[in-house]
């Protein structure tokens, strides 16, 4: 599974960082999300799915590989 972020869509409210801090961070200068773990371990996938669900901008996708 690969985490994909549509950067221009991100509204930088940091919801993904709250639910999946191992996988997401925010850039210091503008708060736009950064993917720390493009291929997260299986035990992190639930939190990534939750990030996909709560992201207000629909900017995160979890792609099947």
């Amino acid at each position: 599974m690969r985490v994909e972020l549509d950067e221009p869509k991100c509204v930088a409210a940091g919801q993904c960082v709250v639910v999946a801090p191992e996988v997401f961070d925010q850039r210091d200068e503008d708060g736009v999300a950064v993917v720390l773990e493009e291929h997260p371990a299986a035990e992190l996938l639930d939190s990534v799915r939750e990030a996909v669900a709560v992201c207000p901008a629909a900017a995160i996708r979890l792609a099947e590989l």
């Binding site: 509204v11 409210a13 709250v18 736009v32 709560v54």
Partner: protein, 408 residues
């Protein structure tokens, strides 16, 4: 454009229900019962807003998320003045009333100030402010009005610190913003206060240009004004927006949250008796969902015809999101109960889409600090009047209480 205004003009011929409707005096924490009816019956319902304009009330969770995430809806107050009139005029054009790309251009100059990391770094300062106001309230003696003594001063000082308002100016800053936010303030007085505050902020911007400090305004000057991204005027305007959107909202959440906890002592004990920040964070999410104080003013205009469920919303028609109702929709099990066992994440108390609350991480930290500190320091805290005598903010943009008399 003409169709846009025509269709939302006050229409005396029809008997439309008023938005947001009246809450039941017996359930002051629940959204107006009429909204639950609309949610179950039809999804979209035509209503009359406080300013007489007609809008579609959106009350289902899925519809609210779909619509607030839809780029075909506009929040542009220039293009659609009826969006501003909902606010009873007042503020000049600012980014909450703009569409992308301009909205996002300005918003992104601020988002770096509100990242989770940045806000966590502010937590110790928030905590010491919380303790200070708590001790001052206790020193002044029981009973007290929790709104004045605790709920309002915390966000007010947090925003002053964030912006870099010098300590000596706090009183000026606070009295002007209080005048601006007070419901009964006559229009002329409101404009005067708004002018004074804006003038003050413009001066402050120039002062910070000469002597930058470790604060938001200084950073906007050194990082954005010098590059030409923002003007001095923009920086003062953004500061006004942050003050305006971050002060009463957080204050009302602290006060109404306290009242909800006093009325639900078993849930309150969960917060008081834990030292696990995760439990507190989860409880705050549930309080945000359960209380959803942003009860009005979530307005947009359709820029083209849009189908929502069985309804056709025509170009130029207005929509208003009923966030309190959406957060009580069936996606949350036993949604009308305050339940700290539930996972409330995914609620829409901060809105959804590109305008979702810029200050939400800061609001969370303020609530996570203010509520447990109060319960722990004053385990005997109680309401000093019967619940029926508490004055709720029924006809305000943001729900809450006008005063909260408490004793301990």
């Amino acid at each position: 454009m003409s169709t846009a205004t025509d269709q939302t003009q006050p229409n005396d011929g029809t008997e439309l229900p008023d938005f947001p409707g009246t809450r039941s005096p017996r359930c002051p924490f629940d959204p107006p019962p009429v909204q639950a009816g609309w949610r179950r019956a039809d999804g979209l319902t035509q209503v009359r807003l406080g300013n007489g304009h007609i809008a579609w009330a959106v009350t289902r969770y899925d519809d609210v998320k779909q619509l607030l995430g839809d780029p075909r809806l506009s929040a542009d107050g220039h293009r659609y003045p009826q969006l501003m009139e909902t606010q009873r005029h007042g503020q000049p054009q600012a980014f909450p009333r703009m569409d992308d790309p301009e909205h996002s251009r300005i918003r992104r100059t601020l988002t770096g100030e509100f990242t989770v990391k940045r806000v966590e770094a502010m937590r110790p300062h928030v905590r010491s402010l919380v303790n200070r106001f708590l001790e001052e309230m206790i020193a002044a003696g029981s009973p007290a009005d929790l709104v004045r003594a605790y709920a309002l001063p915390i966000p007010s000082l947090v925003i002053s610190l964030l912006l870099g308002v010098p300590y000596d100016d706090h009183t000026f800053f606070q009295t002007r913003s209080a005048t601006l936010m007070r419901k009964g303030t006559p229009q002329e007085e409101r404009q005067a206060a708004s002018g004074e505050l804006f003038g003050y902020l413009l001066d402050l911007v120039k002062r910070k240009e000469r002597e930058p400090g470790d604060d938001l305004i200084s950073r906007l000057i050194t990082e954005r004004v010098v590059t030409g991204e923002l003007t001095h005027h923009d920086v003062a305007m953004n500061s006004m927006v942050i003050l305006h959107a971050g002060h009463e909202t957080t204050a009302n959440m602290i006060a109404l949250g306290t009242l909800a906890l006093l009325e639900n002592p078993r849930q309150a004990a969960r917060i008081r008796d834990t030292d696990d920040p995760k439990v507190v964070a989860g409880a705050v999410e549930e309080l945000l969902r359960y209380l959803t104080i942003a009860q009005d003013m979530l307005v947009r205009v359709a820029t083209e015809d849009i189908i929502v469920g069985d309804h056709l919303v025509r170009e130029g028609e207005m929509l208003v999101s009923g966030l309190p109702s959406a957060n009580r929709d069936v996606v949350f099990e036993t949604a009308d109960a305050l339940d700290f066992d539930r996972d409330a994440r995914g609620h829409v108390a901060f809105g959804h889409g590109v305008h979702q609350c810029l200050g939400q991480s800061l609001a969370r930290v303020e609530l996570q600090e203010a509520l447990p500190a109060l319960l722990r320091r004053l385990p005997d805290l109680r309401l000093a009047v019967p619940l029926e005598e508490v004055r709720f903010r029924h006809d305000m943009v943001v729900y809450g209480v006008h005063e909260l008399p408490v004793a301990w």
